[in-house]
Structures are given as C-alpha cells and as structure tokens.
C-alpha cells in the first residue's frame, strides 16, 4: 500500500506586487485649527486651477484677452476664470427655519435638490457675475468647480457664456498595458459587519475564496493571483440605537464594540494571507469631514499585528506595480448626485476627473477640513484606476483623455446588499465581479 502523499509538489505561491502609498497629502499630520474659515481653501483652489487654466487658454482660444471679473467690459469678448456657484432654490438653508411663511412641505427634501430655476454665478477674488446663455447647463455643474469661460458682458450686467473650458484629465504617467502576468486586485465596500443587512456567511465565503481555502487547484490558482485587497469604506455598522446620549450599561458597552471585534476577526484572516487596505467610510468610526483619517489601529488588535494590514485615509491613493489607484468611499459622488444630474454614477466620476477635483462640493455641502495652504482634493496626476465605494450597482468603464490617458472607472457596490466584490486585472485593467450568495434555490 502506498503511503498517502501530501501533494507537496503543488504548493501554490501567491503572486507579489510592489506597493507604494501616496496618502501623504490626505493626512492631517500636525495641522492645528487656528480659527480659519473656508475662504482659504477656496482661494488656494482658485489659484491652483487658475494658473492651470491660464496656461491652457492660449491653445483653446488664441488671441483672446483674459481678464478678471472686475475688468469685464460690455460687449468685449474675453476669457474669465473663476469658481462656479450654483444658486439653488431647493437647497436647504438654515434661515428657512426662521422664515415666517412656512409651508406644509418638510424643510429638507431627501434626495435631489435641483430645480429648473437654478442659476450659476462665477466668482473670483475681484467680484462675481451672473452667468447666462445655454452653453453652461446648471444641471451639470455644482458649486466649487473652477472653469474658464469665454463670453461677453451683456447690457443686463450678466455674462453671456459662449464656450467653456474645463481643466480636463490631468497628465498620466505612461503604463504599458498587456504586459506581464495576470495579477488581480479585489475591491469590496459596504460590508457593514455587525449590521442587520449583512450576512457573515457571505463575507466569510469571500475571505475563504481570497485566501485560497475554497475550491480545487484551479480555483486556488485563480485566488493565488490576487495580490491586494481594498476595503472601500463602511466596513462596520454600529448599533446606533444604543447611542442615544445616555450612559451605556456595561452589557450595552460590549454590544457596541461587537461589530468591530467581528470585523477584526475577519480581517485577521485576510491580513494573514495578503496585503489589505481598509478605508474609512461615512458610517465608520472615523472623523466626519474629508479627508477622513485612517481608522485607529487599536480598533484592530488582531489584524494590525500583521504588516500586511494598512489603515488608510479616505480618499486613498496608492500604486501597485506602478499602476496608480485613486478612490473614495463614495461621499464625493453621492454629494454630486444630490446637487446635479447625470445618466449614471460613472458620468459623475468622469466629471470629477475632467474638473481635476475629487470633491468639488467640499466645503459647501460636503464637510472638509479648512486647509489653508493646499487643496488635497486637486488631482494633479491622472490615476490609471479610479474607484468609488458604497454604490448601488456595479458599473465600470474605460475613459480616454485628450493626451492618451486611459482610466478605468469602477463603481463598487455595497456588499451587504448585493454580495458582489470587484476584481481588477492589473495586466489589462479589465474588471469582473465575484458574487457570493448564500440562498439556495427554492
């Protein structure tokens, strides 16, 4: 009788990839709040983008004068650069609480605050001017976007827009596609561990697949090609009913920390196998305003023992094998959806890239830290992969820029609702999904 052999000749090795984190600009470091207001971040944003747009203007409309808003003259065609402000009738305003004529309708409408009467205004440090004409559609733009406009001042005192110049996709470092071997990066978001909608078995199945505990050799071979995992926000859901302002009883205290302990147990399994990045989301125990700081390592006593575990900021920028990734946990795109319209989320994502700004609605309707000397959401180098977490559906597209830039856009769906994770192949930037179900057909 032959001795049973452990198939030691078929040990599969997981593929490796180089990783560089570029989150430095999103970290707060030693910033201290000195009482500044948001005028500083708007000034920095305008200055950065105005310098850029002034350099692009001669190629766009040669021989046309560029002037500031205060220098506008009637009927003289010129180019102005400024920050857009969208005046929205339905946008909730704190003063509505004090208005004498309060109608029966609730003060805050839940979803989209758009109205056909919305108007756009252009502002720079010298003044502001109302915009008119059919070229600039208020439904597309939001407050905080910096653009260059060609037009002339009318008798009515507003600026008739004839053409728009957006900054366009930033320059991209060339990366040769279709070279090398297949390596995969897995994206997951909206795990909501500990919440009522999440199914722990689904997540455990995902972890087992990634760590190679599932399936036969062929399946394990596929799993061995996964080199990195990114958790794009909302990984945990706390029982918010307990947080009602009163002191917690000791049994409630342990109930409160259960979700994060459960998540730590899951993540220890993943971190033991391969590098893992975890980003904070809107429901996670991190600060509220963007850029959200990394989740504290003391929340993950088990997984943070591994050097493969990385707690990252939101937004998160990193490079794997020289392919640049940039992504958020969804707050920037969700906010755009409230104040503008597009045919799908991918179009919002493409707009933020063309405006060269991750979150143009900060600090107007999306909370952000009042930076004084920089605007960290300005995109100066085009990523190869741009992802957004906590969306309703999986969607992906490949967009091209005017200078040959190629960007893979990915909308990562909420795992607790859909059971879907996204897999990206680094060799050719193609995406597919991994879906996990735990219900058996009836």
């Amino acid at each position: 009788m032959e001795a049973m052999e452990i198939d030691s000749q078929n040990i599969l090795q997981r593929k490796q990839a180089t990783y560089t984190s570029m989150d430095d600009t999103f970290e707060i470091h030693k910033e201290t709040y000195r009482g500044q207001q948001y005028s500083q971040i708007y000034y920095t944003r305008l200055h950065l983008m105005r310098t850029l747009l002034y350099s692009l203007a001669p190629n766009w409309k040669p021989h046309l004068p560029v002037c500031t808003i205060l220098e506008l003259e009637k009927d003289r065609e010129c180019i102005v650069v400024g920050t857009l402000y969208k005046h929205m009738k339905l946008k909730p305003c704190i003063l509505d609480e004090y208005s004498k004529e309060r109608s029966v309708t609730p003060l805050v409408k839940p979803h989209n605050f758009m109205h056909p009467d919305d108007t756009l205004v252009l502002e720079d440090d010298s003044g502001r001017v109302k915009l008119s004409g059919n070229v600039l559609l208020p439904s597309i733009y939001v407050t905080g976007v910096v653009v260059a406009l060609l037009g002339k001042e009318t008798d009515a005192g507003d600026f008739l827009v004839q053409d728009v110049l957006e900054a366009g996709l930033p320059p991209q470092i060339e990366h040769p596609l279709k070279s090398g071997e297949d390596k995969h990066v897995v994206f997951v978001s909206g795990l909501s561990v500990g919440g009522s909608t999440s199914n722990p078995l689904q997540f455990q199945l995902l972890i087992d697949h990634i760590t190679g505990h599932l399936g036969d050799e062929k399946e394990q071979g596929i799993a061995a090609e996964i080199v990195h995992v990114v958790l794009a926000g909302n990984s945990v859901e706390f029982p918010r009913g307990l947080l009602n302002g009163q002191n917690l009883a000791s049994k409630d205290q342990s109930r409160l920390s259960e979700p994060i302990k459960e998540l730590d147990i899951f993540l220890t399994q993943v971190a033991a196998s391969l590098p893992l990045d975890i980003m904070p989301g809107s429901d996670d125990p991190a600060n509220f305003s963007l850029p959200q700081q990394p989740l504290n390592r003391c929340l993950f006593p088990g997984s943070s023992a591994y050097n493969t575990f990385r707690s990252c900021t939101n937004p998160h920028c990193f490079e794997v094998d020289n392919i640049r990734f940039l992504g958020t946990s969804g707050q920037n795109i969700d906010d755009l959806e409230k104040y503008s319209e597009a045919k799908d989320k991918l179009e919002f994502m493409e707009r933020t890239l063309r405006w060269r700004h991750l979150a143009p609605t900060t600090p107007n309707t999306l909370g952000c830290y009042p930076f004084v000397d920089r605007d960290p959401f300005f995109i100066d180098s085009c990523p190869h992969v741009y992802f957004v977490g906590n969306q309703d559906k999986y969607k992906t597209d490949l967009i091209k820029g005017s200078e040959g830039q190629l960007v893979r856009l990915i909308c990562i769906p909420k795992f607790c609702d859909t059971g879907v994770a996204v897999v990206l192949n680094l060799r050719n930037l193609e995406c597919h999904t991994l879906s996990f179900g735990t219900e058996f057909g009836s």
């Binding site: 000195r34 009482g35 500044q36 207001q37 005028s39 500083q40 000034y43 920095t44 200055h47 950065l48 310098t51 440090d125 010298s126 009042p370 004084v372 000397d373």
Partner: protein, 123 residues
C-alpha cells in the same frame, strides 16, 4: 419696573464722559501685546489729549514696519489674511509662486512684529 427698591439713581448710574468712553467688557484683546493693540476694544484708555504737537494724533502706535505688514495683509493677490499668521501666509504665497517681497519675511522672522494679521481679534 422690576426694581423693588426705589433706587433709580443706583440703577441708572451716571457715567462721566471724559474724552473717549471705553467699553466696559473687552475680552477681545486681553492676550494681545499692548504695544500694537487696536484702539477699538482695547483696554488702554485713549489719552485725553488727542491733539499733540499741533496735529491730530490719529495714528495708533504702529510704526512704518507695521504699516508695511498691513499693506501685505490687505494685498488681495496673496489671498485672505484672516485665520492665518502672517508668516504662514507669506510662506503660502511663496510656495504658490507669487514671489512675495523678501523684506516682509525678514520683518516677521525678526520677531518684533505682530504675528497675526491686522483684523485678528477685531472681527
């Protein structure tokens, strides 16, 4: 009408008007150096003789260095001044490529000038 004692005189105490009246509670500039504090809201009593040496002494005690720094504060090209120290604003102007004048940096680093902008504590 609420006073039970008929001590109206005590209630409406007469205040002597002597030159410029100073506001009674000025928490604003208690921590600032007295040398360069603004007149409004400060707790130094204005000297009663506003006219000295035959001309109205309208300047608070700030010298030409402070005047140069105030012009730097008010220069729109370098952005808003409130909420930042002057040196931080100067550094920002330099890193954005605006070439702010070197003398300002010298004045600020020498340490004798006010580090905050002119509106700080006044707005």
């Amino acid at each position: 009408m609420a006073t039970t004692s008929g001590n109206i005189k005590e209630f409406y105490r007469q205040r002597k008007k002597s030159g410029v009246s100073k506001p009674s509670n000025s928490k604003i500039s208690t921590k600032k150096s007295l040398k360069n504090s603004a007149t409004f809201g400060s707790d130094i009593t204005q000297p009663s003789a506003l006219i000295s040496h035959g001309s109205p002494d309208l300047k608070d005690d700030y010298d030409e260095n402070e005047d140069m720094l105030r012009k730097f504060d008010m220069n729109m090209a370098y952005g808003p001044c409130l909420g930042m120290t002057r040196l931080a604003r100067w550094e920002r102007a330099r890193s954005l490529g605006l070439n702010p004048p070197e003398e300002i940096e010298g004045l600020l680093k020498a340490g004798k000038a006010r580090s905050d902008c002119l509106w700080d504590g006044r707005v």
